[in-house]
């Protein structure tokens, strides 16, 4: 198991900034990749903040996660979302 690719590391850093900005919780700027995104633990995104995150992801990385992932399984953790974006980003 190797670490995240350089592209994925940049995506992770971008996602952390978005999370901290959207939730107003500065500590999320240093959240580890295994941080859960939805539900009461972890980042605690709900339908409002989750929609804001997906809108920003589309704007910044060009990936429409909601259209490409019906179940939104990619939102399990910060790391799974970064991997999904890296795999679907336009080249």
């Amino acid at each position: 198991m190797t670490g995240p690719s350089p592209g994925e590391s940049m995506i992770l850093a971008g996602l952390r900034d978005m999370l901290a900005g959207i939730t107003g919780r500065a500590e999320l700027a240093a959240a580890p990749p295994q941080t859960a995104l939805l539900g009461p633990d972890g980042a605690g995104l709900d339908s409002l903040t989750g929609t804001l995150l997906l809108t920003e992801v589309q704007h910044r990385f060009g990936v429409d996660v909601a259209a490409e992932d019906l179940s939104l399984d990619s939102l399990a953790t910060l790391g799974t979302l970064a991997t999904f974006i890296a795999a679907h980003a336009p080249r």
């Binding site: 339908s47 997906l54 909601a66 179940s71 939104l72």
Partner: protein
């Protein structure tokens, strides 16, 4: 249907120009204010978009005594101000009317936001007689809508200034979600929700009051409501869910059934306040307690109901691998009811049926 009227201030809601009138700002236009008040009684929201300092919006709110759901002041493009209001209120551009005395501003908004209904003040004076300003259903929540959105602005200002997590803010605000079986008196409001909601609905179209009454009277279906309040105000009935519990008498038996949800709706005003989390958690728990093995939600997937899909994902519901093909078919999201279940949040209370 128009849900919100965005008003210009200078020479529209006011009988002059705010910044050119010295110490005594101009009086409000009594005729237009009366039109706005009539629309407010019909549950239509009002907002301000003005090339003025923020004080102008405060002045208009004070002298007209109208509840404004949003106010955009500044010197940017009016179409961008209207776009921000649409995003803030989470409504569709085709449900917004824009009123301005300035022909250039009307042309700029019409070009930038072609779905918006653009009106001169003279047109707006006639608007109460037009069908798109006459809601088909009007409930208590509808009549108080303007006031509820004004409370929402105060709540959002406090939430922005609050440092902790969303759940901490919900507790701080004294949020109460009450989940209870529907009663006959709830049906007009549930129908209204199914008509008005596009971002938080699983269904393609509205559920009629007759449909709702049929489900309410059936042993096989459970129709459940969610009511929301906090110290900023009482939002009343904001959500509903319908569950088909399978064949009567089979629940808990050896051939355990699935609960299937054909309809789940929530007011977009309640977005971000924990209502869907509470409603879905209560439903999962009730289905498990009734002995069901699985919870399924049939949901049409549209570009607009992403917020609802996020709530389904947060409650552990996943799209099954084998889905019906075809554009118009709803997708089935499901989860098992064994193992750890999502907890009903501490600000919510579920009354048993």
């Amino acid at each position: 249907m128009i849900k919100c009227v965005v008003w210009d201030i200078d020479n529209t809601l006011l009988t002059g120009t705010y910044l050119e009138s010295g110490d005594q700002p101009p009086a409000p236009d009594a005729g237009l204010v009366e039109v706005a008040r009539e629309l407010d009684r019909r549950g239509i929201l009002h907002a301000l978009a003005s090339k003025n300092p923020p004080e102008a919006a405060d002045y208009v709110a004070r002298v007209t005594r109208l509840p404004f759901a949003a106010a955009e002041t500044g010197w940017g493009r009016k179409s961008e101000a209207v776009r921000r209001i649409i995003d803030e209120l989470a409504i569709g551009a085709d449900t917004v009317a824009f009123v301005d005395d300035d022909l250039m501003e009307r042309a700029e908004v019409a070009a930038g936001l072609p779905e918006v209904l653009v009106l001169s003040p003279e047109d707006a004076a006639e608007a109460p007689g037009w069908p798109q300003f006459r809601p088909a259903v009007l409930t208590d929540e509808g009549r108080r809508r303007g006031q509820l959105y004004a409370q929402r602005r105060l709540r959002q200002d406090e939430a922005r200034a609050f440092g902790g997590s969303r759940d901490d803010f919900l507790r701080y605000a004294g949020t109460r979600v009450l989940i209870a079986p529907a009663a006959a008196a709830d049906l007009p409001r549930l129908h209204e929700l199914s008509v008005r909601t596009h971002q938080f609905t699983t269904a393609a179209g509205p559920a009629s009051e007759a449909d709702l009454a049929g489900w309410l009277g059936s042993d096989r279906y459970r129709l459940v409501t969610a009511r929301l309040s906090d110290r900023f105000g009482d939002d009343g009935l904001v959500g509903g869910v319908l569950a088909d519990t399978g064949e009567p008498g089979s629940a808990g038996g050896p051939g355990r059934t699935a609960w299937t949800v054909p309809l789940l709706v929530m007011s977009c005003r309640a977005m971000g306040r924990g209502v869907l989390d509470a409603l879905l958690a209560a439903l999962v728990q009730q289905a498990a307690a009734a002995g069901a093995a699985e919870l399924r939600v049939r949901c049409r997937v549209t570009a607009r109901n992403v917020p609802l899909r996020l709530a389904l994902a947060a409650a552990g519901l996943r799209a099954s691998a084998d889905q019906p093909s075809g554009e118009d078919q709803p997708v089935v999201f499901s989860r098992g009811l064994a193992g750890p279940l999502p907890a009903v949040p501490d600000w919510a209370q579920a009354a048993n049926s």
